[in-house]
C-alpha cells in the first residue's frame, strides 16, 4: 500500500513588512548540510497560516525565488483579511527544491503579515 513519503516539519513564524516581490523573505529553508550525507531534499507546502497585522485586505504570494525576487510563484495568491487569521490547508502538492519565500501583494502603511508554513520534507 502506497504511503506518501516525507516528514512533516513546521517552519518559523516570519514577519513580512514589505509589499511586493522585492519584499520577499525566506519562510522555510530546505534542510541541507553541504558536505554531509543528506543528499537532495525538497519540500511540498502542506499548510499556510497567515496573520494580518492591520495590513488591510490583501493577498500573499508564495514562491521559491531569491530573497527580494520571490518569483517564480508556486501557488495562487492567498487572501489575507485585515486584522484576521487565515489558514490554508489541502493545497496543491507543489514541490520545491529551493527555499520557500513569501511576500504580500500590498500593505497598508505600518501593517505587516505574519506567515508560518507546514511542509512535507522529502528526500
Amino acid at each position: 500500500m502506497f504511503q506518501e513519503e516525507g516528514i512533516v516539519v513546521t517552519g518559523p513564524v516570519v514577519n513580512l513588512p514589505t509589499a511586493g516581490a522585492g519584499g520577499s523573505r525566506v519562510v522555510f529553508t530546505i534542510p541541507v548540510l553541504v558536505g554531509q550525507l543528506v543528499g537532495v531534499k525538497s519540500v511540498k507546502i502542506k499548510k499556510v497560516i497567515l496573520f494580518n497585522n492591520a495590513a488591510g485586505n490583501t493577498s500573499v504570494l508564495i514562491g521559491n525565488g531569491a530573497v527580494g525576487v520571490g518569483i517564480p510563484v508556486l501557488l495562487p495568491a492567498l487572501t489575507s483579511m485585515n486584522g484576521l487569521e487565515d489558514i490554508y490547508d489541502n493545497l496543491p502538492e507543489v514541490e520545491s527544491f529551493a527555499n520557500i519565500t513569501a511576500w504580500p501583494a500590498a500593505l497598508v502603511a505600518g501593517g505587516s503579515i505574519d506567515i508560518q508554513l507546514q511542509v512535507i520534507v522529502r528526500g
Binding site: 504511503q3 513519503e5 516525507g6 516528514i7 516539519v9 517552519g11 518559523p12 529553508t29 534542510p31 541541507v32 548540510l33 554531509q36 550525507l37 543528506v38 531534499k41 520534507v121
Partner: protein, 197 residues
Amino acid sequence: MPDLYIFKTQVGMFDPVALQNHNVCIHYVQKSYYRKVDFLEGIPAFQCIDITAGAGLAALMVTGRVNVTNLEMADNEFGLWRWYPIDDAQVRLYHPTGIAKYQLRNLQVPVDMNIVLRDPNLVSTEIAVWQNNRPGVEAINGHAFALGAVRLIAIGYRFHSVDLESGKNADPMLVKAIKEGKAPCTDIWCSGRGTGD
C-alpha cells in the same frame, strides 16, 4: 534446524534470532564465542537516548559521537535491536564506537525519520549488542533551525546465554560439531566491520 536467522522479519513482526536452547555464535569484531541461549524476553519499544543529552542541536550542526549506554547488556547477554529516530536529524551509527555501521565504499548510510516509511519493519536497522559493547551515534541537523532533541527509539529482544567453550556448561563436542557444520548454530554479528579488511 529452526527457521531463524538474523534480519528475519515478516510484515509487522520482528522475530527473535534464537530460542531456548539454540546454539549461537557471537561475532564481535574478529572474535567468535560459541554459546547456548537459556533465556530470552522481548523488550518493548523505548526511548534509548537523546543524542543531544537535553541540550538540543543547533542548526546545521553535527554532534560528537555519543555511546548508547542504554543498549548495553549484562554479562553473558546479548541484545537484538531495531531502532529509528523520532526527531528530524540524520543519524550515523557506529558499532562499536570506532567502527562505522551501514558503511559502503563511498558513503556511510545515515538513518532518518523516513526509515519508518521506507522500511516499516526496521529490518535494515537491526543490530546486535554483545554485553557492554554498545554502539555509538552521531546526529546531523540539516535544518535551518535548532532541534530540541534527537531521540532514538529501540525495540528488540534480550538473550541470556551460557558459554559452550569453558566453564560448567562447556561442551567441546558440541562446539566441534558446530564448527564442522554438523550441529545447528545461528551466527550473530555484534559489531560492524571495517571495509576492505
